[in-house]
Symmetry: C2
Subunit: 233 residues, 2 copies
């Protein structure tokens, strides 16, 4: 079965967490809006009897699954990227949802007054929110995952097998490095486990091939991770 991934064609965004899982799994998929244009995506959002609130969503045969973490909940056990037993699946999904919360907070750093206004109209509040984010929230989130890696004692969050959550944490580290190079550089000494995990993910054959391909959209200032010099002090 060929999966169809529906997501904005010009950004990594939330879709990237799904792309990384599909790529690591070596799954057969088509990134629909990139290949066939936006019309195909808009049509799906309007027509289907289980319409997604927003991209990304994944079509798998007749099934249409929306919400990033939910898509990974579906894909994980099918592609060896999540345990099959319920307790393990729930634990992994819990971590994925915590990453989803972090992603929303990252987006809020440049959009504190809401997703519907331009960044240029909220620069002052963005500075304050970003300062608070790095002071209070980054340590809370990243220390949490750092401690999980330490206490697990393995290469990955759940021990010996790579999961969707590891791929997502790679993306968090890569994204924070892109958006806040100075702040992140100073912070990295505090999270050696996550930095190591980032490097191990990047070195996996399928992921490395993906990152070097044109399928990986470069970071840019329309996605979640945006580099605005005035926010990176």
């Amino acid at each position: 079965m060929r999966y169809e991934l529906y997501y904005w064609p010009q950004i990594q965004g939330r879709g990237e967490f799904v792309r990384l899982a599909l790529e690591e799994a070596g799954a057969d998929y088509v990134d629909v809006a990139r290949r066939r244009g936006m019309g195909a995506m808009t049509k799906m959002m309007e027509a289907h009897h289980t319409p997604p609130f927003a991209p990304p969503f994944l079509k798998a045969g007749k099934l249409v699954v929306g919400q990033t973490a939910n898509i990974l909940l579906y894909l994980g056990p099918r592609h060896g990227l999540a345990p099959k037993a319920e307790a393990g699946r729930l634990w992994l999904h819990q971590l994925q949802l915590t990453i989803a919360d972090l992603v929303l907070e990252i987006h809020d750093t440049h959009h504190p007054l809401g997703p519907s206004l331009y960044y240029e109209d909220q620069r002052g509040p963005a500075k304050k929110r970003t300062a608070e984010f790095w002071k209070e929230r980054v340590p809370k989130y990243l220390d949490y995952f750092e401690r999980l890696l330490e206490s697990g004692g393995g290469s990955w969050v759940m021990g010996r097998r790579v999961t969707c959550v590891d791929l997502s944490l790679f993306q968090i580290v890569a994204g924070l490095r892109y958006a806040f190079p100075k702040r992140m550089k100073a912070h990295e000494r505090r999270i050696p486990g996550l930095v190591g995990l980032h490097d191990r993910v990047a070195a996996r054959p399928n992921i490395r091939a993906y990152l070097e391909s044109e399928r990986r959209i470069p970071f840019n200032e329309e996605g979640i991770f945006r580099r605005y010099r005035e926010l990176d002090v």
Copy 2:
């Protein structure tokens, strides 16, 4: 089995979405921090080998499940509040995650500069974010659920059986009424389906008994839904 729910004892907050499900199900549970104090909750967060990032979390035998939507994913099929087949469960969870996104945006109306600062230190940005929220986001979210109710043609989002998502939508309507009485009053003519759903949930025997009991913590200005007069114009 008696469930243990761990959540802040002084607010409805995110824990309320779990409380509503437990109450509707008539499940045996103890609201630990309210009955035994905060010490028991703090201890669980530090000690367990799958430590939750934040409350709420639910202890079910040996299992500890965190993240509101994940707890409902666990409870739903066990208590007749979610379908058992995978496609239905994924669809319901997708809706639950969309509600979780809305809840975060509601919280951001009074905390646009971040959850770690006081409301009093972000009143100006809160006004702007709230205006934007009611102009762009409330219509987008509530119209989405309104359309689902219309197209389903039943009493509930998934048709003939009440689910966790219906209980959560009750809480959204009740909370928006509490926090923004004027704005919500003006908005309600646009969402007759959701208003009807709210009333049907409130009239269910277990929910009605719960809402009249001391187990239902009143809305207040420490939770997600806060009534600040200057934000309700």
